[in-house]
């Protein structure tokens, strides 16, 4: 049995994750080590080494468990972590306004990271059920509830960043039969929102009307459902006019400012874009080949905030240049695509859905985090999987990936 297991393990995925962890550690060392001569386990790079050790043990443990454990225990795992999210609200510690972690001794555990894992498991379990049909509203509703419950708790912790990746699980649902129009409306909503940041709502209404009537005219030979079209049109207009209220009343000042600085509408609003500017300076000054290991001035001299956690990519950009940073991008793209590829080859629906779920969790972090450091996304504090300093995220992503590797190795593939 063990022999066949070995054969089926996807060593490429292991290699990619090990490479990312190694790159992460080198860069954490670069920013947090004060000198080369001594090794300090109290410093972040030293602690991270301990976390990496723990992650290896966790990975081995995850691999040897019988793969049937995961679908069977998906529900209890989900319940446990959701409850943890609830308890952290009451007894958790607060950093930067977010009550999101437990302090155990001198280590902190952030249950939100593990909740992603739990959500992926339960979502995969539910959606892979033979009876589940996402085109049916009831089933779709349940699937969405699975995603939304942990999100609500995380939002209650005031940790918007950690809640955002859950939304990316919609893509996994899309693969499993979610109606296309839902995704299309989602994207339309985002595009309209961006337009509304720049333009007056009446102009946006005008643009939408012109586009809609052009489409109607171009496809005039196709039979149409006029009440449907009218409904869509009405919904869009309601959305456009409600967005202003949402934008001004629901979003907090700092969130509005982050969005507006992203689009260059306001400049240096009380130093809100300090982080982004410093981050762009660090990455931009790296040039093609970078300044070399430990030669980055912006990151080693603390100009970039959170440089070993959320802004770790700045160190890579500055010290390893375009070569280094595009290599890291490539590693992530390969990791995500590889997971999806393996998932697609699965006979077991559970493994496939689970693969998609974790691929999109990785993708969410990759897109938001790197997008933020290069000024394409608003500042949202989430870690870069495997690279950022921090035990919870490293352990959580190890758990996610190695659970998949276990499932993937021991179940049947289409050939």
């Amino acid at each position: 049995m063990i022999k066949t297991t070995h054969k089926n393990i996807d060593w490429l995925l292991i290699l990619l994750s090990v490479a990312l962890i190694a790159i992460g550690w080198i860069n954490i060392y670069s920013t947090t080590a004060n000198d080369f001569t001594s090794f300090n386990f109290q410093a972040n790079y030293g602690k991270q080494l301990i976390w990496i050790g723990s992650a290896i043990i966790l990975a081995l443990f995850t691999m040897v468990i019988n793969y049937r454990f995961y679908p069977s225990f998906a529900t209890p795992i989900y319940i446990i972590f959701t409850l943890l999210l609830l308890t952290v609200l009451f007894i958790g510690n607060t950093t930067k306004g977010a009550t999101s972690w437990f302090g155990i001794g001198n280590i902190g555990i952030q249950p939100a990271e593990f909740a992603k894992y739990a959500t992926c498991l339960l979502l995969a379990r539910y959606v892979s059920d033979k009876d589940c049909d996402l085109t049916k509203s009831k089933h779709l509703f349940i699937a969405l509830i699975i995603i939304i419950i942990p999100m609500i708790f995380i939002l209650l912790q005031n940790d918007t960043g950690s809640a955002l990746p859950f939304l990316f699980l919609i893509f996994a649902l899309f693969r499993e039969g979610l109606k296309s129009w839902i995704l299309i409306s989602g994207f339309t909503a985002i595009i309209l929102f961006v337009l509304l940041v720049f333009l007056n709502q009446w102009i946006v209404v005008g643009i939408v009307s012109v586009i809609l009537f052009t489409i109607l005219w171009l496809f005039r030979k196709i039979k149409r459902n006029y009440p449907g079209v009218l409904l869509i049109y009405a919904l869009i207009i309601v959305y456009i006019f409600s967005i202003e209220t949402v934008y001004n009343k629901v979003l907090k000042d700092y969130q509005r400012a982050r969005i507006e600085t992203l689009f260059g509408k306001i400049e240096d609003a009380k130093g809100i874009d300090y982080n982004v500017i410093q981050s762009k300076i660090a990455i931009g000054s790296g040039g093609f080949f970078g300044k070399g290991f430990r030669n980055g001035t912006q990151t080693t001299l603390n100009f970039v905030p959170e440089q070993s956690t959320d802004f770790i990519f700045c160190t890579i950009g500055e010290e390893w240049g375009f070569v280094g940073s595009s290599f890291v991008l490539l590693l992530y793209a390969l990791l995500i695509c590889r997971i999806i590829l393996r998932a697609e080859q699965q006979r077991e629906a559970f493994v496939r859905v689970y693969g998609y779920c974790i691929a999109f969790i990785f993708f969410a972090h990759f897109t938001i985090n790197i997008g933020m450091t290069i000024g394409l996304m608003p500042v949202i504090g989430i870690p870069l999987p495997f690279l950022s300093y921090g035990g919870s995220s490293l352990l959580a992503y190890t758990l996610m990936l190695f659970t998949f590797l276990n499932l993937d190795a021991k179940t049947n593939h289409w050939t």
């Binding site: 033979k130 893509f171 899309f174 693969r175 499993e176 039969g177 410093q278 762009k280 300076i281 660090a282 990455i283 931009g284 000054s285 790296g286 040039g287 093609f288 030669n295 001035t297 912006q298 080693t300 001299l301 603390n302 100009f303 950009g317 500055e318 240049g321 375009f322 940073s325 595009s326 991008l329 490539l330 992530y332 793209a333 995500i336 695509c337 999806i340 697609e344 006979r347 629906a349 993708f363 897109t367 790197i370 997008g371 290069i374 000024g375 394409l376």
Partner: protein, 608 residues
């Protein structure tokens, strides 16, 4: 087969979405890192502090190796406006440390910002050691500020202010002319400091330091790979004799005028006294600006005016030496030429007067007694020499050329900045003034005795004596003997300039000058036991009483010092300039003064 695989094609939508995000990010990185270099500049502005390493300025010694000018260290507080986060607490703290008002603070800050928000400007110059220590401890709170060490000048003599010159901060024209200089750098403004600026300043070094986000120093950038070491300025050995210079200034106390002494065998200037003067240390340090304004506003004494180089006097009778030389060279007189003089020279219906002396006078006696008529006739003979020159103008031009060869009417282009050239008018000037061919020897007869349009500077007069002492040549008078090494010679001034008068014509002149000192007009300049030769001058001028002028050199047989003394509005040359020259020669050749009575009479006389 599971029915859900009907959605399998959606994986392509998903793949293309992921891959397009990947490419968008790659392209964004390409622009950020490869195509746009503003980030690199901003990064350097963030983390690097370019500390200029100012080399010590070269020292200045006198001809005997005595130190005249050395250096002392001082600190400037610099500010990089963009890096400053203006808060009340920062302002209060700095205002207290520097004891300035908040208004003053904002004024300085805005001035620095107007110059450049990114480049360091001086916020407060030459702060005290105590303030320096205080600030150094608090630098982490004073983001955008740092302390820059500099060297300042320290003078070990209170004399020779004009020759040594002073240094000051560069101004915009100087910075534009030479990009080496940056805001706040020091540059020689006058004197040796100016003419030897490049040798003295050395070459600035640059040290690149890293600072972190809290403006704390974090060591050198890339282990100093891009640092350059400062190269110290070269030391100079001035030709000045410190003792003689100081003595000359003492003698000139209370008098206006100048003393210039030259070593004939080298052209080295031994002293360059101008009076009234100022103490060089006044133009150093925090009070420099105020002191400078005070000196500048003293329009009565004009202490900043370097009379030795810039005052242009009618040379009076000393100019007779010139005409005596040229007359012989032109062949219109020789040592036996005799002209009679009965209290002057009559031309047309006018008389240019002379004093009572034996008549007729030969060449030697004419110098000894300073006969006016003799030189009027000589000049007349030169200009009316129709055997050689067809017209007066032609004769005048020949005379003019020879006068210029004697160092008059032009600048020496020496190492003395701001010299003036005096005035020896060209024939064209007279053509313009009197009309073409409307002037002749008697029209311009006063130039025979160094009056009229003729003007000379004290250094030109001293040089004339040096030429006579050398019997026909001179070295450009200069004030720096050696650069970098005491025994090296300033190669700029090794060339002998021969004058347009042959050696043999100098002997009668020298004889006359010596006789003047023993039994003529120059007796007051005599030094017991030393053979000297000299010539007085009493220059009429529009500013009041005549200037007292005397030129002389000593010893006759082996000239060591040629000297010109001018005391403004002091009367006869013999009265004031004579004794001063005498004491200077005694001081220089004997190193001590025996005639204490004379000395104290001169020192204590106040003539203005």
């Amino acid at each position: 087969m599971n029915f859900k695989h009907t959605y399998s094609n959606r994986k392509w939508v998903i793949f293309s979405f992921i891959i397009s995000i990947f490419f968008i990010y790659i392209i964004r990185l390409l622009f950020l890192q490869v195509f746009d270099d503003q980030w690199d500049l901003k990064a350097k502005g963030n983390a690097l502090r370019y500390l200029t390493d100012y080399p010590p300025r070269g020292l200045i010694y006198d001809r005997n190796g005595e130190l005249l000018v050395s250096n002392t260290i001082s600190y400037d507080l610099m500010v990089i406006p963009r890096k400053v986060k203006l808060t009340d607490s920062l302002m209060n703290e700095l205002c207290t440390i520097l004891s300035i008002t908040p208004d003053d603070f904002m004024h300085r800050f805005n001035k620095a910002k107007a110059y450049s928000p990114y480049v360091a400007s001086i916020f407060d110059r030459q702060i005290s050691d105590e303030t320096h220590g205080y600030i150094e401890e608090r630098l982490h709170r004073l983001q955008g500020f740092y302390v820059q060490p500099r060297t300042l000048r320290k003078y070990l003599t209170s004399a020779a202010a004009h020759s040594l010159g002073y240094i000051g901060e560069v101004n915009y024209p100087e910075m534009e002319k030479n990009p080496y200089y940056k805001m706040g750098d020091y540059i020689g403004k006058t004197g040796i400091e100016k003419s030897y600026e490049e040798e003295l300043r050395g070459i600035k070094g640059c040290q690149i330091l890293m600072v972190d986000n809290l403006n704390r120093e974090k060591g050198s950038f890339q282990n100093g790979r891009f640092d350059t070491a400062a190269i110290s300025g070269k030391s100079l050995w001035s030709s000045l004799d410190k003792d003689l210079q100081e003595y000359g200034e003492t003698l000139m106390q209370g008098k206006r005028g100048s003393i210039v002494a030259i070593e004939p065998s080298s052209g080295e200037i031994l002293c360059l006294v101008t009076s009234p003067s100022y103490k060089p240390e006044l133009l150093v340090g925090r009070e420099r600006g105020r002191n400078y304004r005070k000196l500048e506003q003293d329009t009565f004494n004009k202490p900043l005016f370097n009379r030795a180089l810039m005052a242009q006097y009618p040379p009076g009778s000393t100019f007779k030496l010139v005409n005596a030389l040229i007359g012989q060279q032109e062949g219109v007189i020789d040592r036996n030429t005799r002209y009679s003089c009965h209290m002057g020279f009559a031309y047309g219906n006018r008389v240019l007067g002379c004093h009572a002396h034996a008549s007729p006078a030969d060449l030697v006696f004419s110098i000894q007694t300073s006969c006016n008529a003799y030189y009027c006739r000589t000049l007349k003979a030169i200009l009316e020499n129709r055997r050689v020159y067809k017209t007066t103008k032609e004769a005048y031009d020949a005379w003019h050329k020879k006068v210029l060869s004697l160092g008059f009417g032009q600048k020496f282009n020496s190492d003395l900045p701001y010299e003036l050239k005096g005035n020896i008018p060209k024939s064209e000037y007279y053509d313009r003034y009197y009309g073409l061919n409307r002037w002749k020897a008697t029209t311009i007869i006063s130039i025979a005795i160094g009056q009229g349009e003729i003007l000379a500077t004290p250094v030109q007069l001293a040089n004339l004596v040096a030429i006579i002492a050398n019997k026909g040549y001179y070295y450009t008078p200069h004030i720096v003997k050696a650069i970098g090494h005491k025994d090296s010679l300033n190669t700029r001034f090794l060339e002998k300039h021969y004058v347009d008068v042959e050696e043999k014509y100098f002997f009668p002149i020298i004889e006359g000058m010596e006789k003047a000192a023993t039994a003529g007009t120059v007796r007051s300049a005599a030094v017991p036991g030393i053979r000297i030769g000299g010539k007085t001058g009493t220059a009429q001028n529009p500013h009041g009483k005549d200037h007292s002028i005397l030129v002389c050199y000593a010893p006759i047989d082996q000239p060591k010092i040629a000297i010109s003394v001018i005391v403004e509005n002091a009367g006869f040359g013999a009265t004031w300039a004579g004794p001063i020259a005498s004491l200077m020669i005694e001081k220089y050749l004997n190193d001590s003064i025996e005639r204490k009575d004379l000395e104290s009479r001169i020192i204590n006389s106040i003539l203005y």
